[in-house]
């Protein structure tokens, strides 16, 4: 239930709705889309990537000297969990051996395993939490694929590369868009239930930045449906695919030829370090939302701490577009318990409209995400002061959902958005009758480890797919292109990495790159107590956290990360 102090503002939304409904039914844009100049202006002034201190040069490694997101730089300039000398015996006698090692059990990882099995190559999937504990599971709205007669893969290409400000790697956008229709068919063959018309035609909706209706969907549970289908298929092949849960990789292993040859795992259950020897390796570790960049709430999974970036970087992997972060335009602001939760873009695809405190439209509802987010931040900024404030001190704008049933007919919202309805029903808000309060939420890692269309990196034997990779989306991804991304590139990584594994020979296993990383840190005079990969964020209150640091005489990475972030004066207050 909305508190009384919002009642007057809710009336404004009702007041302006008949006029806005007229606009929506006219077939014309309900608000003028921005041109190139307007886009540039709102981004440079209001997008968090352009705020002072958002980026800084990284001081070591393959991208040394490049400006990247400050929190990522901090994570790359951190100590390894592993002491190479102590691992010698485990490098000589690995705990596990496999042909293909897949790091990460989300959508891309499952696809890589399935494709490798089809190619006759055995694989091992290691994952931080459970299989399917991934951002894949949480995607709601849909996947872009040029399946309708009015659309084409090349039109999809144009939309995607324009959304990415023409900086995406062309060869990656081509395979993304050209493989799209095939992915839809392949997923259906595995049993994904697409939203379809009676005659079997795919239901397609708009998303931000699309010029054709291209969003295919599974109500608002696309991620859960695809992820559970892929996991189920993975588990149907126990003879070909081994799975180790709660055993995240924390370092890659190279061989004496500099080829990737496996990884060091850290068992969260037993706190053991374990080694895997593999002929080829795929990183499918996803993104970094749980770093809470610039203090933003996130839509991301608990384990989304960018581990793959850290491992690959230490091994010499080059990163691309690591200076840009995606903020989803519509994260929940109220109630406080679900602050940051994802409100699917499909709401706007179906006609939902963002409104300021006067109930007025202030932006075209389907701009690309960075533009839409920057426009919402502008509306709430002190320059305009048109946001709606909550008792918890958050600001946001309305997302008018009741208009959806008025456009599409009664019952549409409840059938198409069961997840969204349930999320708000729990707090006594019926989104069929009342709008939601929203603000941008940290959502996606636009950049990542640079790949080519075969998912190869600059390290032989190392492949990357999904959100961990960089280049597909440039500096801004469109809605529905990440679901497509992990499907397209997860499959490709599985095919190419398993082909590579068939002929690869592995030399002597080595962690020399980890030793060199430590030397480089020292040479650059980097002082930090930060240990990465982070593995999990900590949401323990800070005073408790301080006292935990002495625990067992060691410093688990997740706690160290946060201690590093306290200023000395804060530490003093807490410790007395």
């Amino acid at each position: 239930m909305y508190p009384d102090y919002l009642a007057g503002l809710l009336k404004e939304v009702d007041r302006t709705r008949p006029h806005r409904l007229g606009l929506a039914m006219s077939g014309q844009p309900v608000y003028p889309p921005m041109n190139a100049e307007e886009r540039k202006d709102v981004l440079s002034k209001y997008h968090p990537d352009f705020a002072p201190g958002a980026r800084r040069p990284v001081r070591i490694g393959p991208n040394k000297g490049e400006e990247i997101t400050a929190e990522v730089a901090e994570m790359l300039e951190a100590h390894s969990m592993v002491e190479p000398k102590l691992m010698d015996i485990h490098l000589r006698e690995p705990d596990y051996e496999t042909d293909l090692l897949i790091i990460g059990g989300g959508g891309a990882g499952c696809w890589a395993a399935i494709e490798a099995a089809r190619n006759g190559v055995k694989s091992m999937v290691v994952t931080k939490l459970r299989m399917g504990d991934a951002n894949t599971m949480m995607s709601e709205g849909g996947m872009q694929a040029a399946v309708s007669a009015t659309d084409s893969p090349t039109r999809h290409y144009l939309d995607a590369i324009g959304g990415g400000h023409f900086e995406n790697k062309p060869e990656l956008v081509r395979v993304l868009t050209e493989d799209g229709p095939g992915v839809v068919a392949e997923l259906e063959r595995l049993g994904v239930i697409w939203d379809k018309m009676e005659d079997g035609t795919m239901q397609v909706l708009h998303g931000g930045g699309t010029s054709r209706r291209r969003m295919v969907s599974c109500r608002d549970y696309i991620g859960a449906i695809i992820m559970r289908t892929l996991m189920d298929e993975v588990k149907n092949h126990p003879d070909m695919i081994a799975v180790r849960e709660f055993e995240p990789a924390v370092e890659l292993i190279l061989d004496d030829n500099g080829h990737c040859a496996g990884a060091v795992l850290y068992s969260l259950d037993t706190e053991q370090f374990l080694t895997v020897k593999a002929k080829s390796t795929v990183i499918t570790t996803g993104g970094f939302g749980r770093l809470h960049i610039r203090g933003f709430a996130t839509t991301n999974h608990y384990g989304a701490t960018g581990d793959g970036l850290v491992m690959a970087y230490r091994a010499g992997g080059k990163l691309a577009f690591m200076d840009s972060v995606q903020y989803h335009p519509t994260g929940a602001v109220f109630p406080e318990q679900i602050a940051g939760f994802l409100i699917t873009e499909k709401i706007r695809g179906a006609g939902g409209q963002p409104l300021n405190k006067f109930g007025d439209l202030f932006v075209f509802p389907r701009e690309p995400r960075d533009i839409e987010s920057a426009a919402i931040i502008r509306e709430c900024s002190s320059d305009r002061n048109n946001g709606i404030e909550t008792y918890a001190g958050r600001a946001g704008v309305w997302l008018d959902s009741p208009i959806i049933d008025m456009i599409h007919g009664s019952g549409y919202t409840r059938h198409q958005f069961p997840g969204m309805c349930r999320q708000f029903d729990r707090f006594g808000i019926d989104i069929v009758k009342q709008p939601m309060l929203i603000y941008p939420s940290l959502h996606y890692q636009n950049g990542g480890i640079e790949i080519n269309e075969r998912c190869e990196t600059n390290i032989p034997g190392l492949y990357v797919a999904g959100e961990a990779s960089g280049g597909v989306h440039g500096r801004n991804r469109l809605m529905g292109n990440s679901v497509l991304d992990y499907n397209v590139f997860g499959r490709r990584a599985g095919q190419h990495a398993s082909d590579y594994a068939k002929s690869a020979t592995v030399g002597r296993l080595s962690l020399d790159h980890v030793r060199k990383h430590a030397e480089e840190m020292e040479a650059a005079c980097i002082q930090t107590d930060l240990i990465s990969p982070l593995i999990l964020p900590s949401y323990t209150p800070e005073d408790v956290k301080i006292q935990q640091l002495a625990r067992l005489g060691n410093v688990p990475a997740r706690h160290s990360m946060l201690r590093n972030r306290f200023s000395p004066s804060e530490r003093k207050t807490h410790l007395g």
Partner: protein
């Protein structure tokens, strides 16, 4: 319970513990996490309460938004005989709540080849014969944190109405709480996934549009256009982009 040393009266401000742990912003309640009392903010979800108490959750947290089913939790409330179920990420704490998370749900997933199955009752019999032990007690539906009519879909599975199962089980997060509560030891959520895959694979008509598009891609219809776009300079590409027409 409020008589215990150190307990707060429901809704009171947090007491000071050892002179340091004062967090005065919110009203506080007592909850019992695996039997041990902690004082936590009254508006917290169970997950936030566990973390507020100082735990680092390893098993029992996933998406944190109600999609992944990692955080199935059972709890009791004062003066209430019932064993309640919920997802820790979306269930709010209450005064006197006594709770524990379920770290994993022991479960055997049947191994099958979807290509060799048919979308009917014979498949349910062959893959999950335990389904037919259902005694229609409705405990599963009462346990479902998503509020799904679990028993109804199990009954539909027994009739071989696979599409109905898929429809009713669509929003299942596979937390497994139904299966843990079931006196007949059925694995409801696994039956749901099987039915969904059968429905997607066999019970939806194929899209003719999609089939036509796949043929176009296979015959390299878009090659020339791609090659042109891929080498286009940024100015021309930008013009093409901003001038493109929009489908209503």
């Amino acid at each position: 319970m409020n008589g215990e040393v150190g307990a707060v009266k429901s809704g009171e401000r947090a007491p000071q513990q050892g002179g340091k742990r004062q967090r005065p912003q919110a009203n506080m309640v007592n909850v019992y996490i695996m039997g041990k009392r902690h004082v936590v903010p009254e508006h917290a979800t169970i997950m936030r309460a566990i973390e507020y108490a100082g735990h680092q959750i390893i098993r029992g947290a996933g998406c944190r938004e109600g999609f992944c089913g990692a955080c199935g939790t059972i709890y009791r409330l004062p003066g209430d005989y019932k064993l309640h179920t919920g997802l820790a990420c979306t269930t709010l704490v209450q005064e006197g709540m006594s709770l524990t998370q379920i770290p994993a749900v022991p479960m055997e997933k049947a191994i099958y080849d979807l290509e060799k199955l048919t979308p009917d009752v014979r498949t349910i019999e062959a893959v999950y014969p335990v389904t037919f032990r259902c005694v229609a007690c409705n405990t599963c539906s009462k346990a479902c944190p998503q509020g799904l009519p679990v028993m109804d879909y199990i009954q539909a599975a027994m009739r071989g109405d696979v599409a109905k199962v898929a429809d009713l089980a669509f929003d299942c997060v596979a937390c497994g709480l139904c299966a843990l509560r079931c006196p007949a030891e059925i694995v409801q959520h696994k039956v749901g996934i099987l039915a969904k895959r059968l429905t997607g694979r066999y019970l939806h008509k194929e899209s003719k549009e999609l089939a036509a598009r796949l043929k176009e891609v296979a015959s390299n219809k878009f090659d020339a256009e791609y090659e042109e776009l891929m080498v286009m300079d940024k100015t021309s590409l930008s013009k093409l982009y901003y001038d493109r027409d929009m489908e209503p």
